[in-house]
Structure formats: C-alpha cells, structure tokens
Symmetry: C2
Subunit: 360 residues, 2 copies
Amino acid sequence: MTDTLPETALPDLVSLRDQVGAALTGFLHAKDRNPPGIEVIHLTSTLRKLLSGGKRLRSVLCLYGWHAAGATGDATAVVRAAASLELFQAFALVHDDVMDNSDIRRGTPSAHRALAAAYSADGGPRDRAQAYGLGAAILLGDLALVWSGELLHTAGLDPDRLAQVLPLVHDMRSEVMYGQLLDLQTTGRLSADIDTPLHVIRYKTAKYTIERPLHIGAALAGAGAPVLDACTAFGIPLGEAFQLRDDLLGVFGDPAETGKAIVDDLREGKATVLMALAVQRASAAQLRTLRSLVGRSDLNDEQAAEVREVLESTGARQAVERMITTRYDAALTALDQAPFPEAVSAGLRRLAQAATTRQM
Amino acid sequence: MTDTLPETALPDLVSLRDQVGAALTGFLHAKDRNPPGIEVIHLTSTLRKLLSGGKRLRSVLCLYGWHAAGATGDATAVVRAAASLELFQAFALVHDDVMDNSDIRRGTPSAHRALAAAYSADGGPRDRAQAYGLGAAILLGDLALVWSGELLHTAGLDPDRLAQVLPLVHDMRSEVMYGQLLDLQTTGRLSADIDTPLHVIRYKTAKYTIERPLHIGAALAGAGAPVLDACTAFGIPLGEAFQLRDDLLGVFGDPAETGKAIVDDLREGKATVLMALAVQRASAAQLRTLRSLVGRSDLNDEQAAEVREVLESTGARQAVERMITTRYDAALTALDQAPFPEAVSAGLRRLAQAATTRQM
C-alpha cells in the first residue's frame, strides 16, 4: 500500500459533490441561453431538479479513482469530466423511467410526468399531455447524453489522457445499455435462473456505477494495470452488493427514503436475484402466489404484502442479505490489497459501507 | 471558383454510399460479438435494416464537404466519420418513431414495432410486447447515438482535425433535438404562425441534414471561413426546401414511394408551414374543417381527403411549392458563388435537384 497522498489532500465527500454540482450548474446555465427562439427551460429545469437530488456517486468515484492513481493538484478538468458522468446518469434515469413507466424518481415526479404536467399547465391540449411528456422525456434523456459527451470533451483534459480514457467511456456507455436490455428481456418472466439477473447486475450496476467511474478517474491520472485491476477487484463485488441492496429496497424499502414507489418492481415483474431465489425455494402453493401476483400492473398493497411474505418465508430475503455481506467483505479485502494511497482506501471503505447499507 | 480537383477525383454517389455502408457493416459486426452473454442480435439486425434503407444523405454531404474544402487522397478515416452521421440519424429516426408512435419507417415496420414483434415471436408474454418494443427501441436509439460517437472517435482521424470538428458535431447534436422539441411543443396546436414551423425546419432539417454534414466534412479538411460560409449559404435554403418537400409528401405523397403512412402527419396534427398557410388563407368553413379533423388520431381516408382539399383550394400547397422553388434557386445561386472545386459544385447541384424533387 503506497501512501504518498496525505489524508488532507483528498477532499471530503461534501466538497467533491459541491465541486461537481458547480460544474453542472455552469454547463447547464450556458445551455439555457443557447438556442435562440427555442424554449428549453422546462427541459433544463427538469434536468437540474433531477441532478440536484442525486448522490453523485459516479462522479465522486471518478475523483476517488483519480486520487487512487496517485494524482494530486489542480482537479478542475477532472471535476468537469466527473460531472459528465452525472449527466450520463441523468440520461439513463430519464429513459429508464420512461421504459418502466415510473411515476416517481428521487422523491419527485419522474421527468415524463413532470414534463406532461408542465405542458398542461402551459395550456397544451389535454389529450396530448401524455404523448408530450413521453416525447419530451426521450428528448431530455437524449440531450443529457449528448451534453455528457460535450462536457467531457470540453472539460479541458490533456488530449493524450482523454484519448486514453475514451475507450473506457465507450465501454461504459454500451455496457449499461446491455444491462438495461437484458433487464428488459427478462422482466415479466418469473424464473429460477439467478445467472441472468447477476449478469444484469454486473453490467447495469457493478461495472457502470462503480468499476467504470473508478477506471475513468484512474485513467485520467495515467494509471497502469495494477491500479485499474484493483479498481475492478473492489468495484465489481461492491457494485453487486449495491444493486442487491437496491433490489431489496425496491420491495421492502421505505418509499419516503428510497424516493421510489414500493410496488413498482413487483408490478413490473423485475427478474431480480431475490425473486429467482424465492422461485427456487418456493413450495407449490407459494409458487402459485408468485405466478399469480408478480408482474400484475394492478397489484395492490395487500397482494404486495403476500408476495413479500413469500420472499421472507422462503428465506430469499435473508439469502440476498448474505450475498450482500459476502460481496461487501470481498470489496473490503480487495481494498486492503489495493495499491491506493491510504487516504483513498479509507474514503472508499466509508463509501462502501454507506453504499451497501444505503446510509448515503 | 477554384478548380484544383479533377472531375474524376470525386467518387460517384453510389460508390460513396457503398463505402459508408462498408464502414457501418464492419462496425456493427464487431458489436454483434461484443457483449458476452447478452443477446443484442435483435437490436443490431433492426439497426442494420434501418441503415440499409437510407439514402445516406448526411454522410454523402459530409464527404462532399471534405472535397469542397479541396481535400483529396485517402478518405478512409473521413468515410468512417461520415458513417458516424448515419448512426446518429438512425438514433434520431428510432426515437422519432417512438415519439410519433409511427408504425412504418422506410417502408418496413418502425423499430419499436419490429422489436415488439420479435419479442412475441420469441415467446415473450403477450401483454408485455408493446412495453418491450418501446423500451428496446429507446435503448436501440441510445446505443446508436453512443455508437455514433464511438465510430467518430475511432475513425482514425488526425487528433487536431478531430478537435476542430467536435464543436460542430456537438452543435449539430443539440440543434436537431432543439428542432424536435419545438416540433413536439407545437404539434396538435393548429396555428397561423409560420415563423415557428420555419424555425423547426431550420434546426431539424436545414442545419442538421445539410449544413452541418457539409461543415463537418469541410472542417475535417481544415476548411476556413469562406468554405464554411459557402456551405451555410447553400445548405440552409436547400435544407428548408428539402423539409418543405417532405411536408408536402407527408400529406400528398405516395406511401409506396415515401415509405411512410400518408395520414400520420395529419393524425398527429404536425404544425407545418403548409398547415399554417392554410389556416391563414382559410374561410370560416374551411377553418372549421381543419379544426375538427387535423390532429384526430382516428382520421380516416375520407377525412384526410377533406383536409387535402382545403390545403389545395386555399392555395397553401401551391404557396409551399413556390417556397421550395425560391429556396432551391437560392441554393443554386450560392453554389455558383461558392469557392468549391467545380466537380464538387456539379455534384451538389445534382444532389440539390434530387433532394427537392425527391428523385433520390
């Protein structure tokens, strides 16, 4: 374990998030004034609201990755590059909510609902509001994706470093969509197969949310294979634990804390590891309960409680808790062996704990 | 008018399209094999089908722009950069069809319809087919957008040239979405205002389809202001003429030739220049006809014929024909004054003629 970086050289989480927020604010402010004669303010304000509610996990990890590779000094360009990951995440969330037909995100109306409401409030024909919301949310996601690229390429990075990082960025962008696609292909099909949801988790979360942001930051500091490999050894199990926790919260969580409607995952019939384990362990009667209720778009609270009972009594919930613990431990072990400055490892340790318990 | 480029140095349209097609085929072939354990073949084959039906107008114009700035020699990297515009256009079409809920594109089922059908054929739950089609089409569009960036950045371009071109690419990407947004905001609201639909046309088509591809190609050859300005002077009026023709074809065209359902624009209530001119000139009775029929999602053939009759008898159709002619003439005049090699001007002249009459 190298320790060239003093503890004080690594900014705290709050400061990192504020720096990323300032970069996003500056970028979007310019966009507000950009297109002459076109009203984009509904779109950018919806985007701002979404960005303000986030934990900025990916951009923080990107900056940790930069420090993990031993970088210090002026981080202005790296902060802007990290902020571009938040715009990418905003794109992914907006489109995800359209695809899942979700009403709520981060505790407020999802983008397509907010934009439909803004359209109606603005005197738009009532029978077009839903179509407008859908279309405008697709466009908002598209713009956030495009702007993510623009922010990265205008971040002021050294061109050689940017060239080194681009393949990782391209991989990250495709990977998250592969995960989303597999998710979509399996949703609504109750199955005992846990390999496929683990595959979804790996692409959609472990690589996208943890490993790649660390990689991108590390590569921006010119990291070689040892640092990148350590990012993977830490990031993949932590990312899996993070998503397994998310799956549990999607069914058992408190909507006031998660900012999401609690029955959404069950109504959609998300093919999670949790559900696959329940199917594996269910009695014939329990299996009938799952088959008749999971994926029902009109699932009510009582029926949701019945499904939860099966997830509990089959031991599926506890099994997922154990999987989270195993992966959390693996991530911490990887961190102990990582060639990161100790201040970085300490920060990542706290972050790992927060991410798997969702105390962040 | 400079003429350093011999007529034979400019490849013919068929050859340019084939080169772009080969670049796209090679790129997508690698994507088919890329994600281990994830079935993307439905997506890539849907994308391939869409790409094969196109006229490749944007990539051809990008290559013309390159030659317009006097470039000759090995065009391999420029062809790949031009091909990236086709992936971007595929993205735009796929999302546009989702937003417009269109069934047909380029004479075959639109991506969301094709993907929903593939899902059902694959044994997917019947009641999820539509949601799957929508979600998978959004993801396919997202992937095409991301891959467009990847193809551009791995095209093998000189880094300094790429840096010169990126601001134009970023502008192009935002502009087309601003145009789409304004289109969406005005659809379904019958209006006599022609400035707004002209604004839509400028962003969505004139800049995106003609001016920016020429600019990008020219900048890849290191063009200065005189060449870029000439691209604008030619591209904007031609692009406006092209979209005005498209608007006429959307209402009066032959579906067998346009590859689109003829009543779609009327059912949606697209706020076109054509419609605005009709509203301006309509009698009280004609206005009642337009108000009661335009934007009806259940518009039948007989009702569509009634609307067409109003568009004819008010003279709106003829007025749009005149606007096309004026803009076509302006584009040709700009070409006569452009500092392009004569072979390029001759090619652009043919292309302008084909684009405004849709003989291409």
